[in-house]
Amino acid sequence: MQLFRFAGRVVLRHRGLLAIYVVALAAFGWLMASYVGTGSGPYEAVRPTVAVIDRDGSAVSGALAAWAAEEGELVELPDTTYALQDAAAKDLANYVLVIPEGYGEGLEAAARAGAEPPALECVVSYSDARGSLADERVRAGAQQLYALLAETDLTAEEAVGVARQARGEAETRLEVGVIEAEEAGLPSDYLVYMQFSTYALFGGTAILVACGLRSLGRDQPVTQRLLAAPLTETARGAQLALACLGVGLAVWAAVEALGALWCAGSLAAADARLVLLAQAPLLALACVGAAFGYLLWSLGATGDLAHAAGNIGSMVLTFLGGTWVQQASMGAAVTAVARLTPVWWVVHALGEVYAATGTTGGLVASVAAQTGLTALFAVALAAAGMALGRARRRG
């Protein structure tokens, strides 16, 4: 096994690749997992920041200003062109309502005559939809006043009073809370971490194998030494293939160890058997990465080509697999293609383990089947690598 150790030693010297494709990519998965979090917490309604410039001073404008203020947190803005432009540019308020002078009288006159109501000026934040929601509610209030003035003989002040009373009676406060779902088999942050670790397991392993073992490639100067050494062709090939597999195992172990470390808090309460079961498809995926790296290596891929193929391949596979977009959200055509890729089966298996509440025979069988399917990709790629490598040697 001297060549196996030799190759392993050579790969481990590529510390830059290890740092980027194992540690950094795993850290990215952890960041995503931290961002998503465990998914539970108290419900809190969002409230926009609102600024009201009332140039009218009528009962109608006062009512609109009050309703706008009720929709969010009031922000003071001076009534100058510069201040309004600044607020719009810097997004100082989610919603800025400007009630022009004469708006109250104009609304009443328009309502009596059945004409178009005067326009309200507003600036709605570009950053989110909270400002738009507040605007909708203020305009609804204005329409309510317009309707009252159009359909009754009430004065503007009386109409405002009626509207206020009606809003007070109609307002229904809903108590909103989070319904705790049945406890999942795996913590959601760990699930997210594992889904994102597929990039490192496939692409990282492939690149490490293809680049790490490149100096032992067939077209490299050391080839003559290796071929002249007292090793049979079978032993030489087997030891190099084992070295590729060893790289896959090492990447898998490192990525999962980092995941266990970073998600230790949430994993503490998880069922250890389910956590172990989830490792099977991930290990198979690392083997697929190793086989892909072996294929690239057999073809004599340059470092640049290996990086490109590993990264582009990982991006495509993780997208199709459902790391970036949930599998359930994909269209039928995408799903049909995705089923032909290994990451789809890995993420699917992880989803089953996540949804499970205990280790059942059916779950184990299903995960084993999906792990086997994933492993088949590894076998196919390794076989292609051997065949192409042999064809190149003969060529």
């Binding site: 001297q2 003559q224 030494r225 007292p230 090793l231």
Partner: protein, 312 residues
């Protein structure tokens, strides 16, 4: 003398091109055997066939008296190879490189550590053991290349142009080292384009061309084989054309030419024509400056046998 390498009727074809054409090679124990030839003449192909790195169409190869085959690990264990290119791994240190390649032959770790130390001492790289190959100069890298090939103590060593792009000091150290290996009992097959090196260290030499051996023997034997004799160089003013004709008419002169202030006279084999040439010049009234005479070199033999025209 015990034959260490015995190649008979070796034929190797690449499609329609014949790389080795009934090639024979016989090397005895303890020899440093020089394998010379122009680029593409089949030297490396011959070595690769002997090492079983290439299959061949016909012929027999015996090493240490036994038939060589790709699965003869016992024979491969006794052979070392130093490729033309520096074949080491940049990922490993100097010591790790030697150890890694030695490990392909020697499993015992302690034994290997001793052999690696000896090899590093031998090539003078002990002080660079922790450096990476890319930190070494060209000469040191060449010495590392040799250390990787000799660490396991091969009885038969193939050195393929080991002194290419090496400074004179390193070249001297490498050549001394090869002689030491021979003195320690190793048999060395040495290929090079530097004729003076081959003349310096090789006991016997084979000149190859077009996949065949065209001459073989000691350097003196080879020099006697060809129509090459002493070379006389005379610093003088350009002689008149009739003087040149007169010189070429001398029995001891094969050809004469004047170039860049020097009159160059090639003598016929076994002739010492210095006195005759100087007398002829004096009779023609040519004033001479410095005069020197060189015996024929292996380079002259090589050019005579392989031709002076450029090869592809």
């Amino acid at each position: 003398m015990e034959e260490i390498v015995s190649v008979e009727g070796l034929v190797k074809r690449y499609g329609s091109r014949v790389a080795l054409d009934h090639f024979d090679l016989h090397i005895g124990r303890g020899e440093i055997f020089g394998l010379l030839g122009p680029n593409g003449c089949g030297k490396t192909t011959a070595i690769n066939c002997v090492l079983q790195l290439l299959s061949y169409d016909r012929g027999t190869i015996r090493l240490f008296g036994e038939e060589m085959a790709p699965d003869r690990r016992d024979l491969k264990r006794r052979v070392g190879v130093v490729p033309q290119q520096v074949a080491v791994l940049d990922e490993l240190t100097v010591r790790e490189n030697v150890d890694a390649f030695c490990a392909l032959y020697v499993r015992d770790r302690r034994e290997r550590a001793r052999l690696v130390d000896e090899a590093l001492d031998f090539v003078g790289l002990s002080g660079h053991a922790r450096q990476r190959p890319r930190q070494l100069s060209g000469g040191l890298a060449r010495r590392l290349n040799i250390a990787c090939g000799i660490a396991h103590g091969p009885e038969l060593l193939f050195l393929d142009e080991p002194t290419v792009a090496v400074d004179p000091q390193s070249r001297g150290a490498i050549l001394d080292g090869i002689c030491h290996l021979r003195d320690a009992g190793a048999t060395v097959v040495y290929t090079s384009h530097y004729m003076e090196e081959v003349e310096q260290i090789c006991g016997r030499v084979m000149i190859m061309d077009a996949g065949r051996a065209i001459a073989e023997g000691t350097c003196d034997e080879l020099k006697r084989l060809v129509d090459v004799g002493e070379k006389i160089v005379v610093e003088c003013a350009p002689p008149a054309p009739e003087v040149m004709v007169g010189l070429e008419g001398l029995p001891c002169v094969a050809r004469a030419a004047y170039d860049a202030g020097e009159l160059k006279v090639d003598c016929t084999p076994s002739a010492h024509g210095l006195v005759d040439v100087l007398e002829a010049l004096a009779a023609a009234g040519v004033e001479v400056g410095r005069v020197w005479s060189e015996p024929p070199t292996l380079n002259d033999v090589f050019l005579e046998l392989c031709g002076r025209e450029l090869r592809d």
